[in-house]
């Protein structure tokens, strides 16, 4: 964290080399900033944020693979780095940035504007609790997530969300189960469900959520719980507390 003396670790993300060079140069002129890495596309950015845990990310919006907004949406709300969106787009996203006090730089920008954004960032890094409204905004702008970057070997791969069968919480991790294999994400189940949307995934237990499209059988048990059978034949248990997520409450007759 950016306590006195500590360096603010910065990740620069832009698919255009000159734009990256400019940010790197200006960051290196600041004593309290250290550029730890650069990324030329969204997927690399998501991977570097997960592995290097930077304090601050300058995030271009229009990029190959994953847009800057998609990168932001898949960050764990609450422990995400501070984001500064960098864009040439002057559209409704920018209006939303203004409304939600989200830092951004409109291309082209000069040194003064860069410094002004940095001043706000320093202020926010110093204050507790730290809020990062950019993750929430990116999620509400994009709607329910369609693609999810998951760890695969040394890097990340983009997983089609409809290919996910069910999710299993494991402390601060989530096991993402697909037909072929499972992936381990460093996210809370609550946060992942907030990104993927409740239309697509229903929580059936404190630590389990299913892809609604995969559910084929719902069988009540004598204890008042439900057994949820997926297309693959796998049966999961739904606790009474979460049963209403799949079964609409019976109206009193």
């Amino acid at each position: 964290m950016a306590a006195h003396g500590a360096l603010i670790r910065v990740l620069v993300v832009d698919d255009e080399p000159p734009a990256r060079a400019k940010l790197r140069r200006w960051c290196s002129e600041e004593r309290d900033l250290e550029v730890v890495a650069e990324a030329a596309n969204g997927l690399t950015a998501a991977h570097l944020i997960a592995t290097l845990r930077p304090d601050l990310v300058f995030l271009d919006i229009q990029m190959p693979d994953m847009s800057g907004l998609e990168v932001a949406a898949q960050l764990q709300a609450g422990s995400a780095p501070l984001l500064v969106f960098v864009t040439a787009h002057d559209d409704h996203a920018v209006d939303a940035f203004d409304l939600n006090a989200i830092d951004y730089l409109l291309k082209p920008y000069d040194h003064e504007r860069f410094l002004r954004a940095l001043a706000r960032i320093r202020q926010r890094l110093g204050s507790t609790p730290r809020e990062e409204p950019a993750v929430e905004l990116a999620r509400s702008t994009l709607g329910p997530g369609k693609r999810l970057p998951v760890p695969d070997g040394d890097g990340l791969r983009l997983l089609d969300v409809s290919a996910i069968h069910w999710l299993e919480a494991d402390d601060n991790y989530v096991h993402v189960h697909t037909a072929e294999r499972e992936y381990l994400l460093r996210r809370t189940l609550h946060d992942l469900l907030a990104q993927l949307g409740e239309q697509q995934f229903a929580r059936i237990h404190r630590s389990t959520a299913v892809n609604v499209a995969q559910v084929v059988i719902l069988r009540p048990t004598p204890k008042g719980d439900y057994e949820v059978t997926l297309r693959t034949g796998l049966t999961l248990r739904s606790s009474r507390r979460y049963a209403h997520n799949l079964v609409p409450p019976r109206s009193p007759l």
Binding site: E16, P17, L106, K107
Partner: protein
């Protein structure tokens, strides 16, 4: 003017006309008390009934509902051709009135010219009234049509300008300059000059509709130059344009949106190094121009505003003699193909 209003107006004019005729016909009653008023009125009644029945039948014709008044002669010719029929009708009405009501057995050599003269004058008066009412209506309609055509033209020009140089492109190019000038003044300068050329050309488009392929390609190279700076090392461009095609006339800035699409969907969406090929060839009296980019294939149909604009422009300039097709390219990526009629520039 709406159809019902049109019919109402014609009916009103018709009634007015016959009121005038009735007033004239009944004028003798004022001097000659021997003829009762009802008799004079009923003498006019039969011609009115006959003529109205005829007019009601006539009103269904397209010459009344959708008249073509420019030039006016065909309209008059059409209606004058019906004059004999009307005259016969008027003669029969007058004859029957004379025989049955008035019992005045006027000799035919007086009755015939009198009835024909009266009918003819009446008919011409009627035509003149209808013609002037139609003309006024049509003038107003023409005004409205001209106004909406002008509005559509202005909107099309604006859309064209926006399709040619999207603000997004300009801002990104400016950002590239802003980034380059800290490290390489020469390159920054070059991007600025290229951007200047593009802006100048896009402002000039409405003044000059067509340019030679050579000029168009020079402009395209400027655009490509800026994009190459932005996507340093991520794209290679290949120009396959035989010298014989260079004098061909092409719509100004037609190809730029196609190249822009190639960058947008090919280069910007891909992390790999992509290739864009611009190819021109003459086949008989047709000029073919292809812009082919490697990279992702098409996602759904190609129905962007830019392409729509290009197609509309081609249609306005060449009618159906030109076309623009966008499809998946052989060996991946997307290919946009333009076919134009071969027209070399003078000299």
């Amino acid at each position: 003017m709406s159809r019902s209003l049109h019919v109402t107006l014609i009916a009103a004019l018709w009634i007015l006309l016959w009121v005038v005729v009735t007033l004239i016909e009944t004028a003798p009653v004022l001097h000659n008390t021997r003829i009762p008023l009802w008799l004079s009125l009923s003498a006019v009644l039969l011609p009115i009934v006959f003529a109205t029945a005829w007019a009601a039948w006539e009103l269904r014709s397209a010459q009344f509902t959708r008249p073509a008044l420019n030039p006016p002669w065909p309209w008059f010719r059409h209606h004058l051709r019906r004059l004999p029929f009307f005259l016969v009708l008027m003669f029969v009405a007058t004859y029957l009135t004379n025989r049955l009501l008035l019992h005045t057995f006027l000799p035919l050599h007086i009755l015939v010219p009198w009835a024909l003269l009266k009918g003819g004058v009446l008919y011409c008066l009627w035509l003149a009234l209808i013609f002037s009412s139609l003309t006024v209506g049509k003038m107003r309609q023409d005004d409205e049509r001209l106004l909406s055509a002008q509005r559509a033209l202005a909107e099309a020009q604006l859309a064209q300008l926006q399709a040619q140089l999207r603000p997004h492109f300009i801002f990104n190019a400016l950002n590239t300059v802003s980034a380059l000038m800290h490290t390489d003044i020469g390159r920054a300068d070059r991007v600025l000059a290229q951007l200047g050329d593009l802006l100048r050309a896009s402002l000039r488009v409405d003044r000059r509709d067509e340019v030679s392929l050579k000029e168009e390609l020079e402009l395209l190279e400027r655009y490509a130059g800026i994009m190459r700076e932005r996507f340093d090392g991520r794209v290679s461009l290949q120009w396959d344009v035989p010298a014989e095609t260079l004098p061909a006339r092409v719509p100004a800035m037609l190809l730029q949106p196609l190249l822009e699409n190639a960058f947008k969907h090919g280069v910007e969406k891909s992390s790999a190094v992509e290739r864009i090929t611009i190819r021109a060839a003459r086949h008989g009296d047709e000029l073919h121009i292809d812009v082919h980019n490697t990279g992702p294939r098409m996602n759904g149909s190609a129905a962007g505003v830019g392409l729509q604009n290009c197609r509309e422009r081609l249609y306005l300039l060449y009618n159906s003699h030109a076309s623009l097709d966008v499809s998946d390219g052989e060996g991946g990526g997307v290919k946009a193909s333009v076919t134009l009629p071969w027209r070399p520039t003078a000299h």
